[in-house]
Amino acid sequence: MELCRGADLPPVQRPRSYLLRMAKNIALRKLHSEKYTVSLDDAKIAFDIADEAPGPQRSLEAKIELEAFQQAIRELTPRRRAILHAARVEGKTLHAIAVQLEISQRLVEIELKHALAHCALRLDRQLVQRFGPQPVQQSHGQGAGKRIDDRDDR
């Protein structure tokens, strides 16, 4: 509304946040095309979840995380491990994995979700061991992401 009244617009004050918003708008526009296949990155933009900058406070957490996940992956059944690897590391679609393993896509999906659940439970257990039961879930959730701030130059 403010913009409509102003006869001459001031130059862009914060080029960085301007560009951030522009990039976000381009990505959002792609989402309007119904044929477009949506990736996790696209979903993160739409849900306003930005990538974290890796800071020193994150490195200990990341190390614990990595240990937990390495252990979790060792404990998976071979098939769940293969499916998780194919989906996450090789970037294969569920359909491609199903074709390759000669099982239904539904089963691939179930097995992938079990694999993820196992990793999540293993991480929670590890964090509880390190930091005690209470603060973990809290700090984990709240520090987990930053919103792209739209309002900083309004």
Binding site: K30, L40, I73, T77, P78, A86, V89, H114, A120
Partner: protein, 335 residues
């Protein structure tokens, strides 16, 4: 690989970690799997966004799930890669399959193709009208009129043009190409680009149209360049540029640097970072943007493999202490 009904039952009955998760976390994993399946559409985004907004705990759970997904990279599989490679050896990444699925991708992108694509992220209409086109990072060799070899560099569009009767030629709509014309009698092969013409018999030259100006470098033989009323002749290792300010003067250059792209190399000798990034943007999908103008003026020297251009970002981070902000879609801000 364990497969078959017996194993399905076994694993299904003995170990169901998913049942031990909280409902919200289970739902967050459902969304994660949906968005990484390669089959999610815009409707899923709308539905997922509503789910996220319904309860802050949903959002937190989804963030936790995406973070876990990102942490489950190759490092997490260290020493635990699936035993036998159960999948065909070289697989394209999902991104590549989706992005490269030729017909489908073109059909999908046509909906939002505009005359001036924002940030130059998509090809413009004139580029789509080309007879031959290379994608980002792609190189391609074509043979025109039976005996002229044209090697196309990344993001290059070429249309076939017959300039005069029996005189074959091409138009370089955008991008860069190395042209080797046959020797012998007959009309010279003509490359048209931005209203200028370059021709030669038994010659080899590099021609580049960056959207503002055209730069021709003679590698072998003699090359004739005409732009408006002005003309010039080039010998080996001479380079000339034409554009809005007319036809320039020939100058000697290092031809090896000009044609290094043929060997998948990018060579920079004390170039302002701004120019380096412009060059690199031609080879990578998305766009690197230098936000800080002082940074853009810093001089940079390095050699890179074309398929490894992202290493430039690490170098810039290390050398100049620049901040690299990666956004989805391959957009990177340097500040």
């Amino acid at each position: 690989m364990d497969r078959g009904p017996a194993n399905v039952l076994m694993t299904g009955m003995t170990d169901s970690p998913r049942e031990k998760l909280e409902r919200i976390e289970r739902e967050a994993h459902d969304w994660l799997v949906r968005f990484t399946s390669g089959q999610a559409g815009p409707a899923d985004v709308r539905e997922g966004k509503m789910w996220c907004e319904r309860d802050p705990a949903h959002r937190t759970a989804f963030m936790k799930a995406t973070r876990m997904w990102e942490a489950l990279g190759p490092e997490a599989f260290e020493g635990n890669r699936p035993a036998a490679r159960t999948f065909a050896s070289i697989s394209m990444s999902r991104r590549a399959v989706l992005g490269g699925g030729a017909a489908a991708a073109i059909a999908a992108s046509a909906a939002y193709l505009v005359v001036q694509p924002p940030l130059g992220l998509w090809p413009s209409w004139s580029e789509m009208a080309a007879d031959y086109r290379t994608h980002t990072g792609e190189r391609r060799r074509i043979v025109v009129a039976d005996s002229t070899f044209v090697e196309m560099n990344t993001q290059t569009s070429i249309a076939l043009r017959q300039v005069a009767k029996e005189a074959a030629g091409i138009e370089l709509i955008s991008g860069e190409a190395l042209v080797a014309t046959p020797s012998g009698a007959g009309p010279a092969f003509v490359v048209t680009s931005r209203q200028g013409q370059t021709s030669g018999i038994g010659a080899k030259f590099n021609i580049r149209n960056d959207g503002h100006a055209v730069c021709v470098t003679c590698i072998e033989g003699n090359v004739h360049v005409s732009y408006g009323a002005a003309t010039a002749s080039l010998r080996a290792r001479e380079q000339i540029t034409y554009g809005r300010s007319g036809l320039g003067k020939p100058a000697f250059v290092d031809a090896a640097i000009v044609t290094a792209w043929q060997d998948d190399l990018l060579i920079f000798h004390s170039k302002p970072l701004r120019e380096v990034i412009t060059e690199i943007n031609r080879y990578r999908s998305g766009k690197i943007i230098v936000v800080n103008s002082a940074l853009g003026a810093r001089l940079f020297s390095a050699n890179f493999r074309v398929r490894n251009v992202d290493a430039v970002l690490e170098q810039v981070e290390k050398l100049f202490g620049a901040t690299v902000t990666s956004l989805p879609g391959g957009i990177v801000l340097l500040s």
